[in-house]
């Protein structure tokens, strides 16, 4: 069995030699380069834009503005069109950095130079600069394509239950806006041949985004071919088509040449979304024995003047604990900022900071161990639907991670543990993520050289899908993983689930499994019907895949290789089709992934920078497909969120509303030296209630609960409760 093994990723060789080709590495002859000029102001209009000097600069082919742009055919639908307003449609400015001109030149350097020569006359209006400035204007967004989940959920009477509860916690929590900050800036290369559009785009899904481009340019979808084989990190920002994706084909039409747009690092911050800042209140009511009676979770996030996009911070809350009376609400409020976007892990990460911090406060108030408080409120079934979970090993996660961490050594008294000048704190928090599934298709071709080829449009973002899906096909056909190759990242291939929302393993993985089974079935049918096969006449159900071929289940000697079977029958390839269709609303089981985190912090009592020296997490995600890629992905998710806990903050200027730290110099993400020991436990249990493969997603659940675990540890170390992220040294002085 290859599944579950810690094999090295199949594309690693290319990635360590520089041979791997990302979107910006694709070379097409005659490519011109476009640079996007962003607005310097965050609210107002472009009163005038003088492009004459830029047009005369060396190498310049065109300068496109709202005044001379070609029309878009239509506005493609949200949510995967990132902004509901198409770029350059009018003179209005909704946020700083919004594109107001496209400069196309022979080289990128020439385009950059020419962009500095464009003179813009702005009509400024007074911006709404920050979430705080807009807080009083919060509202429940109208249901539309962007409101991904219901904005309100109610069971029982939470207000009355809260009032009646003997113990209460009511606090406000704040999370900062975060940048996905993938190392690869988004890049799009587009060219037209008549009405055929070829587009290389750093996207997390060629199949989700191809129709958007087709609609925008008014061409049939099958005239658009979108490629993306490797993505250099996305974390959600490449799960949308941002304005540059539409500007590249537009510019290519104007200059009648292939055009590449690679956005600048600054534009990664302003032009590809962010996780919106939130202000949340959590109100908990409990009995003296820690049983939750009432939970009210209210969240407000900033959104843009273009769109109502929720940061769904309280969306998961109804599902997490067995609370009889509960109310959750998500509101948005307009700020002169770009539209936010889903970032690992949308909603749940910000929401868990508030909910799991509040639980820690409750435990402290009750004098109860915070882990015990969670055990007492464990949701044995889905509290929303009453359905059983497809698989949930959260209690085992609690036990195993607590033991590995040494949670029982914790003296509950804050400030009680010291080592020299260091205050030591232990904290914990839980996490939960609803499991999503999408239809996914794949084919698996058995070839007459005894190998197999997977065909599916999956994009490899770093999660290891190329490897795990190859393992799945290999197992299904009794082949070594090395005998499986993968054609992917091309919209001409069968449609994979997108590489976001933790759907690769469960959905695309299941499609590959079904395709491999179909190919196997075809091979078996061929063999049992072939007089020259040693398997001729056998019951197909008695034939199994084994070491590069087929054999009888009970008589290992009788069989033959795929190679012999196919060649004898003069068949080059035998195709298996896989079409995974999730059960959807009618599913018998509720599906989610679960996790728990334990964190040790050390804080110098004079110079209080929080250092996370040890972190232990355990996850319940069904079956683990590849121990090596899974562990790395989980550790990465944890470390990424340690950044949110301790340093990350995409700050707007409080006056102008411009993001003022649009560089990696100032937007701090963790560096290697920040990281202590990160230990990950998987409590495995194949979950075939969820899908044929038995695997649920990992990429997102691994990043939920960390911020609260750190904040709770900081409280334990110092007695100080920090309810506003990130926890920087100044907050602990």
């Amino acid at each position: 069995m290859a599944i579950g093994k810690a094999i090295s990723r199949v594309e690693a060789g290319d990635k360590v030699t520089g041979a791997a080709r990302y979107t910006e590495d694709v070379r097409v002859a005659e490519t011109a380069h476009a640079v996007l000029l962003g607005s310097a102001i965050s609210a107002g209009r472009v009163r005038g834009i003088d492009t004459r000097r830029a047009e005369r600069a060396p190498g310049v082919l065109a300068v496109i503005t709202h005044l001379n742009r070609p029309d878009f055919a239509a506005v493609p639908p949200t949510p995967y069109t990132a902004e509901g307003r198409m770029p350059l449609v009018d003179d209005r400015i909704h946020y700083a950095g919004q594109y107001i001109a496209v400069v196309v030149a022979e080289t990128r350097e020439q385009a950059e130079h020419a962009a500095t020569l464009v003179v813009v006359d702005y009509h400024r209006t007074s911006p709404v600069p920050t979430l705080d400035a807009a807080l009083s204007q919060a509202y429940i967004p109208r249901e539309n394509g962007l409101a991904r989940v219901p904005s309100e959920y109610r069971r029982g009477n939470a207000e009355a239950a809260l009032a009646a509860a003997p113990v209460r916690v009511e606090e406000e929590y704040r999370t900062a806006a975060l940048s996905h900050a993938p190392i690869e800036p988004s890049s799009t290369l587009a060219y037209w041949e008549g009405d055929r559009l070829t587009i290389y785009d750093s996207t997390q899904s060629v199949h989700m985004h191809r129709p958007l481009v087709a609609i925008a340019f008014g061409v049939p979808e099958d005239r658009v071919r979108m490629y993306c084989s490797l993505v250099g990190g996305g974390f959600g920002n490449k799960s949308y088509s941002w304005p540059h994706v539409f500007l590249a084909p537009m510019a290519a039409r104007v200059v009648r040449r292939p055009v590449r747009v690679t956005i600048s690092r600054k534009q990664v911050f302003t032009g590809t979304g962010h996780m919106a800042a939130t202000v949340q209140t959590v109100r908990l009511g409990a009995d003296q024995d820690g049983r939750l009676r009432a939970l009210i979770h209210d969240s407000v996030n900033q959104t843009s003047f273009i769109d109502d996009r929720q940061e769904t911070a309280s969306a998961i809350t109804p599902y997490v604990y067995a609370v009889p009376d509960l109310y959750a609400r998500i509101r948005v409020t307009k700020v002169n900022t770009g539209t936010g976007g889903a970032m690992r892990t949308p909603g749940d990460s910000a929401g868990a900071f508030a909910l799991e911090s509040a639980l820690d406060e409750l435990a402290h108030r009750l004098g109860m161990d915070p882990l015990e408080l969670r055990r007492r409120n464990h949701a044995d079934v889905d509290p929303v639907s009453g359905r059983p979970w497809s698989g949930k090993q959260l209690l085992a996660c609690y036990d195993q991670a607590a033991e590995r961490f040494g949670w029982d050594r914790r003296n509950p008294e804050p400030g009680s543990a010291r080592d020299g000048d260091d205050l030591i704190g232990y904290g914990m928090a839980g996490g939960q993520r609803t499991e999503h599934q999408r239809p996914a298709q794949a084919t698996v071709d058995l070839t007459d050289d005894g190998t197999a080829v997977i065909r599916s449009s999956m994009v490899e973002i770093g999660g290891g899908g190329l490897t795990t899906l190859s393992q799945i096909a290999a197992d299904g056909l009794g082949l070594p993983t090395a005998a499986v190759t993968f054609q992917h990242g091309d919209s001409a291939l069968p449609a994979a689930a997108p590489t976001f929302g933790s759907m690769t393993s469960g959905s695309t993985g299941s499609a590959v499994k079904l395709a491999a089974a179909d190919a196997l079935r075809a091979a078996i049918d061929l063999a049992v019907g072939d007089r020259r096969s040693p398997l001729h006449g056998a019951d197909p159900d008695d034939v199994v895949a084994h070491e590069g071929g087929l054999r009888l289940r009970d008589r290992p000697g009788d069989g033959e290789s795929y190679r012999a079977l196919l060649r004898r029958n003069r068949i080059n390839t035998l195709r298996g089709d896989g079409d995974f269709q999730p059960e959807g609303e009618d599913a018998e089981h509720a599906m989610a992934t679960f996790g728990v985190h334990f964190t040790e912090v050390r804080i110098n009592r004079y110079l209080p920078r929080v250092r996370v020296v040890r972190h232990v997490a355990a996850f319940s995600i069904g079956r683990v497909l590849n121990a090596k890629t899974a562990r790395n992905q989980a550790q990465g998710g944890i470390i990424m969120r340690l950044g949110a806990a301790l340093m990350e903050n995409q700050r707007p200027d409080p006056v102008s509303g411009r993001f003022i730290s649009p560089a990696l110099t100032d937007y701090h993400v963790p560096v290697n030296a920040d990281i202590g020991e990160i230990d990950v436990i998987f409590v495995e249990e194949p979950d075939t209630n969820a899908n044929p493969l038995g695997a649920r997603g990992l990429g997102e659940i691994c990043a939920v609960g960390i911020c609260a675990s750190v904040a709770n540890a900081v409280h334990h170390a110092t007695g100080k409760r920090v309810r506003s992220l990130p926890i920087t040294p100044d907050k602990l002085l």
């Binding site: 310097a40 102008s656 040294p729």
Partner: protein, 331 residues
């Protein structure tokens, strides 16, 4: 980036002549700051003069026991040089706490002195900044000023000097040597940078045609211990919120020698003379350290966003001196 003429200077005299002839020209050494500023359109020189070929790459011992550091010695080379690690370990610590290995491999000693502020508003071409565009105003004052200075700042500019190395050099009584068509000049490092006042765009006392050729350090005070301590938002690769360079010698329980400089809090590497005066001959105790820190910081002016820096600076000074006291007694 705007087009510019690129010249390569083979020797100091040519370099100096070239810059005298080209008003607005810039020298490029390591380029770690200048290339970035060119790309951001903040620096717009018509000519860039590459001086990396000049023979200013040596670290030499001086007859008095001090050292002379060529202006083009790379930061990583300097930090690892035996004369520095043995005599001025604090200088090594300061250099190694700045930037990243790759940047230190490129950055030069002279360039480090002249690096420009990392004020977010200075870098944001859409913001008002008196340093970038004299007379335009300062958006940092009413804006996000958590990183900004509390000592030596003015109502026109709150920016801090970003260097770590310079803080150590200030505490080590370094002298800067320059060359221009008018000859050689020697400037105490503490006098190299100006305070902003009403002219924050004038950052140093150097004339436009002056080339830094070397830094000289006097011999380290005998029997003293020293340390560079930097407080920042992440463990590495971040500019200082506050940093302290301290040299301390205690005799019979009293401070006999002290030199103290601060980083991250002022428009220039900040020699803490008031604190030094308060400490000299005082008993080497935590109370004295605290009093000294407060003597320096009474002059501090904070904005709401950076008031914490005063407390953080106080604590960092005290913690650093306390550690040095322990180290000195152990030695």
């Amino acid at each position: 980036m705007r087009p510019f003429t690129y010249l390569r200077a083979p020797d100091v005299a040519t370099a100096v002549r070239a810059i005298s002839a080209e008003p607005g020209a810039k020298f490029i050494g390591g380029g770690t700051n200048l290339v970035d500023l060119l790309r951001e359109d903040i620096e717009q020189p018509g000519t860039v003069i590459d001086i990396t070929g000049l023979p200013l790459t040596g670290v030499e011992e001086l007859p008095d026991g001090g050292i002379r550091i060529g202006a083009l010695v790379r930061n990583s080379h300097l930090a690892a040089h035996r004369l520095v690690t043995t005599r001025y370990p604090m200088l090594s610590q300061a250099i190694l706490s700045g930037a990243s290995p790759q940047l230190r491999n490129m950055a030069t000693t002279g360039g480090n002195l002249l690096q420009r502020t990392r004020c977010l508003y200075f870098y944001d071409g859409a913001a008002a900044c008196n340093k970038r565009e004299p007379g335009s105003g300062c958006d940092a004052i009413g804006g996000f000023n958590r990183q900004h200075g509390v000592l030596g700042v003015s109502d026109d500019c709150l920016a801090t000097h970003p260097s770590d190395m310079c803080v150590a050099l200030a505490a080590l009584d370094a002298t800067v040597e320059t060359r221009s068509e008018h000859g050689v000049r020697r400037i105490p490092l503490v006098d190299l940078h100006r305070l902003p006042g009403t002219t924050p765009h004038r950052e140093t006392v150097l004339a436009a045609d002056e080339l830094i050729t070397a830094i000289e350090l006097p011999p380290p005070p005998s029997g003293a211990v020293s340390r560079y301590r930097k407080v920042r938002d992440r463990a590495s690769y971040a500019f200082a919120l506050v940093s302290v360079a301290a040299v301390l010698k205690v005799r019979d329980g009293s401070v006999s020698t002290v030199r103290l400089a601060l980083g991250g809090v002022a428009p220039k590497p900040w020699r803490a003379y008031a604190a030094e005066r308060a400490l000299l001959a005082a008993p080497a105790t935590e109370e004295s350290f605290t009093r000294a820190a407060e003597a320096e910081l009474t002059a501090a002016t904070a904005r709401p966003g950076n008031a914490f820096k005063i407390e953080l600076a106080r604590r960092t000074i005290v913690a650093t001196l306390r550690d040095l006291l322990a180290e000195g007694s152990a030695a």
